[in-house]
Symmetry: C2
Amino acid sequence: MRIAEPTVERLIKYHRLLISMKQGNSSVVSSRQIGDMLGIKASQVRKDLSYFGEIGKPGVGYHVERLCEHIEQILSSPKVWSVALVGVGNLGMALMGHSVFQSYKFEVKALFDVDPEKVGQNIMNIHCWHIDDIARVMKENDIEVVILAVPAVEAQTCIDKAISSNTLKGVLSFTQAPVILPKGVLFYAVDVFVELEKLLFFLKEKERNIS
Amino acid sequence: MRIAEPTVERLIKYHRLLISMKQGNSSVVSSRQIGDMLGIKASQVRKDLSYFGEIGKPGVGYHVERLCEHIEQILSSPKVWSVALVGVGNLGMALMGHSVFQSYKFEVKALFDVDPEKVGQNIMNIHCWHIDDIARVMKENDIEVVILAVPAVEAQTCIDKAISSNTLKGVLSFTQAPVILPKGVLFYAVDVFVELEKLLFFLKEKERNIS
DNA sequence: CAGACTTTGCTAAATATTGCACAAAGTGTC
DNA sequence: GACACTTTGTGCAATATTTAGCAAAGTCTG
């Protein structure tokens, strides 16, 4: 059974919320409460949660810990993914420092850059290689996922080198350049520019509709 | 006429692409070419572009410069938005350094943080205030948009202070915490964690379906 | 333990979004 | 200028996603 992307996205958010609720005082939570906290309709929450069998109790709600484990199981990986971070500039460093990067689901095995100040160094205990070594290092470390945080103009070149490792399975890109990938390689992009433009666009539209 | 969010998102991407094509050699481009470069179906491209009147020529395609201006007009703002960046940590600095922030559509008028090393300083020529001053500074500078780049635990507190300025109209959040806003304030979030989790989830699913 | 609530799981309807297919329009060649 | 292409714009069908509504199940109160 295939799960739709928006559903997965919400499951991730429920999971995150439940983790923070585990330290709270109530051991039970209703779809309404979850929905209100995340800005999602309660019926949507129920539909998402009932996707994998009945887990809530009518008249009561969902048991926080149980539900959390339940979602954890759905989202869980059978293995720890090996990841490479390409581009150790401001953004790359910000990512590395981010708590997200202390996950049990993946491990950043190698860094890549072109800056001679960084290449050869250990940064936050991870070795930084020259981007030209990426195919070899990826093969040696079985790296299947690349996080791309380089300037737009270099994105495609870097990706092409990563592709030549033949181990690449997924890319999370932070650059705004469109990149061409062999089909079969999953691609997700975090596009700051697009989000900001969208915000400004709909702000404009809203003001226009008022006046 | 209301434009759907996915459409706006694609328009932004077309615009970005067209800008880079303006320096290229061909002055004309087809919906097929645009689609291939961005991973979008040609029919979708045509539908998006014809939303605002006929602008292409059958048998030829779209005139790059003309199309670019056309989209620019759709996306254009009647004013330059005043923006505050809340949180001048790694991520905030990365954003400031990003080329996205040299836009003619908005201007970062003020920075906010709690770190005594930063408060009172000018960072990249913009003054950094203590977060407690945000309501006053926002009012004085007519700041309507806040970019939130603080640790999750501080997100709500910061936003509450920004709300009390009464000038807040939109938020672009980089924190993973859900925040409660008065309705009427637009909210967009860039959620690194969610994107990464989605990537890993669908990678897992894909491998599971193969084996 | 009856009656008033609450809340789930699910089905069906409503919306939103994408993709197809084709006529009409433009280009190029001989 | 006839014929073979290419490519747009668009109506309609197909998919995807969200929302509403409700019976059934569980809780609480007196």
